[in-house]
Symmetry: D2
Subunit: 336 residues, 4 copies
């Protein structure tokens, strides 16, 4: 049961985020290697990966055999030169989207993996792990709402940096919907068309958006995607699915809303296990972290005592019907 | 950086849940000991704690020094006989609520901890770690809505087992609001009164509920708690906070709703980092788990290729204004 | 089919509002008499009641037989001296709440009406005509959610004038819930208790609120009423009904929300007849009003033409699959 | 102040509905003439229009001069032969949409009206009178959310009759959005394109829908319209407006939802005048109607007395802090 040693390739925004994630929230793995040509970036990331080694290039890191798996977080144009040696070394790979930046190179990677005889590559389309998308896929698959007829997607960012350019609307942003539509429908995209909405003058100069992308699938579905990267108010990713018998929507902050049978509904919890799942996890993780530095990070025994005293009064009040006063011992200075 | 060795005391419903949580979702800790007199229960829990030792009683486990910290999940009446030896051994303790089942024994524990000279006990009031409660506490503390004037709480379970009895309404259920009201208001409960609503005839025989509990705080607040354990439809825990200038509500599935300035609002995300935080974590945890058994558990290189091809068409469509067809290479059998 | 001639007694805030309502929105009635001692107020109201006569006192108005019915909108302490002569004259009466300001005088009115041998008095508890209350009453009566166990009401005003005093919290404000709880439950209020929440320092001096009123009904129900008149953010009147099997809530801007069977739902329309009922009414009323002054107040023939042209293009596009251009004739100056 | 005498032309579904509306809810007008060739339909409508005359054709009705205004509710293809003589007679006209069924005839009507020298025709695009559309138009005009960039509309019917055919998707249904988009944007539609979503097999045979209609405006806006007439679950008409700085949505049952500045909000009432506007109107209209037949239709004096007694107890409880019992006189049989 030894932990997975992960090499994170690229320590930019996404790479650094993955280093923290693996260190703080992922069980059974730790970052053993960071590959990053820029020394300052590498050092910043290493601060969150105690014990990890730094390599300026991937080949040396692979040669050193200091990892069991590779997480690629470099810009897309540098994916292929990491993917190929990692495949050759037989290492499992989680590769941030896109796999590569064009069709031909993507196909070369596929061929290289097939030649390995074993699937080693997973691509970072993380929406497939979002609760909303998973719930919508299940609803589609169940058939209970009838056949799926179309999808209306919106992908809205408050702003983008000046370096964001027109083609990135597709390969950096709409690519998520391109995978998500296929994930939801199990049918490949067979046509794409782009319409321009009125240009947002708050966009960076030269950026011509928002756009409306029409995706057609092999199965005959039409999906619209509003791709909008300067809408100021917030970050919103939603999909409205049009079925034969009604509508379902995900991405509105709280799970799926369903429009069926004259009713608009969301789900309520049925158990504390789901309602407070995150609270339980947070509680124990923070306690574990606090214990490591010799403290607690939550309610104390004194808090427990105060509750006990009020509970006693409550039970008494329950049985007496009267207004019961609660009195407490003096608080030990110890707890201040 | 060695991991925290946790002894879980009690392997019933809650204890077994904690064993799984620590094994699967908590970084930096593992279960090294399970204390449980019932052999069948112990064995079931051990299945989720590879390498952990089983002890039928706490004293032997402590004598064996096979833990760095203790998580107590026995029924409340057995807390004191575990807390005292664990304190004596100087072990950090996370104790499920209640601390103990009555005021006197709770105070004994407090005195024992004070005698230790160091705070070792944390009590499992996990609502303090729920996002809604944390956000509401922050709002109260900020003062931006004016002073807090009162709270309306509802704590609703679909059903309870036949063994649930009247006093448990307070010491097992309302105890959560008793701590939460103090957590929110920073003021101890100084009075408790119980009113009966009309009895739910779907409740177990002899159980007289729902009830309305009125909690008064030292600071002059009134908090009402509807405690309702047979309401069938779902598990709902909510609090409506009445301020001088408006209302805020938590527990309605999706964070806090605020009623201020003629507007009813919830928050929208401002970044993918919060919108997809859980998806990123899920993705990587499932990948780590899959790698451990030599597979992937997410989108494959073939998925990456399919997206790349559609992206190419999309970029072309963006620039041409036409409907662009996407064609794909034949899918290698390898990916079926 | 002659119209009902209504005498409005009292031309203060509510009376003036009723004069406008009858003139502008009520079919089959008009205001024939305004009784108001204050000449300035009377004249202001008469401006909205063309043809109506002004009387400074009720007795003269009744003697003049210039009405078929009476709407009483004076302050409560002046209701009895209007009710009795109106009853004697055999006139139908709509009396703003309260009937009178104390129990004894109310009972005298009841006795006087009984002596008439015919029910002539209707009291202005207008919440009985609110869609939410009507829907909730229907839900309770249907029994489909099980028995009703309790009600949580909130009645929230942004502010009140300085003349509003403590007892008015009950007789002017909570009186609405007092009638509404009985209307909903068909069971009289048999006990009342008042608790103080923390005082809102934004309330007028001397006003001690918000309060929590506990109403017990003969049928064993408990209803809580938060009465809050300085809550700044808005005017909110809501009721949460606790049933055996779930929860229903009214007054949250959009009809009833139901919490049943693991689902949170509101109703969707099933027909344009309900979705656009108000729009149809508004359209025709505004057209009627405009015609009276020789104009139209809505889309013109030119608007109709523009739509026709776009429709033509749309039908063409439907059949061609192409992007069809719409062209229009020059707009006649006539329509500017 | 004599009432407007309206001739309703056509007593089918819409015509009959307008006859009822004018009779029951429109102040200042009554139906004086019904023109309908089908005697059975005419008689059914006349039942709701006491005193109205029946004419089988429009010319005779106009010759009889028994109306001050004309409301046209015949099928669209019969609009022109009514519009022209009504214009010639100088009568104000409210004409159900469409003005006529094609561009050429619509333009003839426009020319005839211009020749009259006075605008007499209003077209029945009643969405312009819907609160949501009015609020959205105001928001657009205010400029506070930045420029409007695009609109996503959905127009969803549960079912349509078998007589509904493909072109009606545009001229009967999308025509509403065609006018509404122009109403909202003040810019004419200059292009239309239709895409097919996957066909709903629950549609009537031969009907090929849902469709996605793309409307371009002269001002450069793109509006999408999902036109869907077999979606089973309900009748839903919504529009999502994409601005430079955020999103606003209407048609989701309860007014406009706004997505701006990291917040999702709807409006709360600020006064009982809006919160209970409909309840007040309903109350008085039902009272007027009841008085006409010698009854009341609302809370009685006995209801008023019961409230008064509970109020007395409430005031007492407010001042005593105790639980005050309410007692009532025996209920007179009179009120049973």
């Amino acid at each position: 049961m030894s932990e997975l040693r992960v090499a994170v390739i690229g320590a930019g925004l996404m790479g650094a985020d993955h280093v923290s994630r693996i260190g703080q929230r992922i069980v059974g793995a730790h970052v053993s290697v960071i590959v990053e040509p820029d020394e300052a970036r590498a050092k910043a990331a290493l601060a969150n990966a105690p014990g990890a080694a730094w390599y300026p290039n991937t080949d040396d890191a692979i040669a050193a055999k200091a990892m069991d798996a590779v997480l690629i977080a470099t810009p897309g144009q540098f994916h292929e030169p990491v993917l190929l040696p990692a495949l050759n070394a037989g290492l499992p790979i989680l590769c941030e989207k896109p796999l590569t930046t064009d069709t031909e190179s993507s196909l070369r990677i596929v061929e290289a993996e097939v030649a390995c005889g074993k699937q080693l590559i997973q691509v970072g389309f993380m929406r497939r792990f979002d609760e909303g998308y998973m719930a919508l896929r299940d609803l589609i698959a169940s058939g209970e709402s009838g056949e799926l007829l179309g999808l209306h997607c919106a992908h809205r960012n408050p702003t983008v940096p000046d370096t964001y350019h027109n083609d990135m609307l597709i390969f950096d942003s709409v690519v998520h919907e391109i995978d998500a539509v296929r994930f939801l429908t199990d049918s490949p995209i067979t046509s794409v068309e782009v319409k321009h909405m009125k240009r947002n003058t708050l966009s960076p100069e030269g950026l011509n958006e928002p756009i409306l992308v029409l995706l057609g699938t092999e199965s005959g579905l039409l999906a619209t995607v509003e791709m909008n990267v300067s809408v100021q108010f917030g970050y919103q990713v939603k999909t409205e699915a049009v079925f034969q018998k009604g509508i379902a929507e995900i991405g509105r902050t709280s799970g799926m809303t369903r429009f069926f049978d004259g009713s608009i509904s969301t789900s309520e919890h049925m158990s504390f296990k789901t309602r407070f799942a995150a609270a339980y996890d947070n509680q124990i993780q923070r306690w574990v972290n606090a214990v490591a530095i010799g403290t607690i990070d939550g309610p104390s025994a004194w808090d427990g005592y105060l509750a006990a005293a009020a509970v006693d009064a409550g039970v008494k009040a329950l049985n007496s019907g009267a207004n019961e006063t609660v009195t407490y011992a003096a608080k030990p200075k110890f707890y201040n």
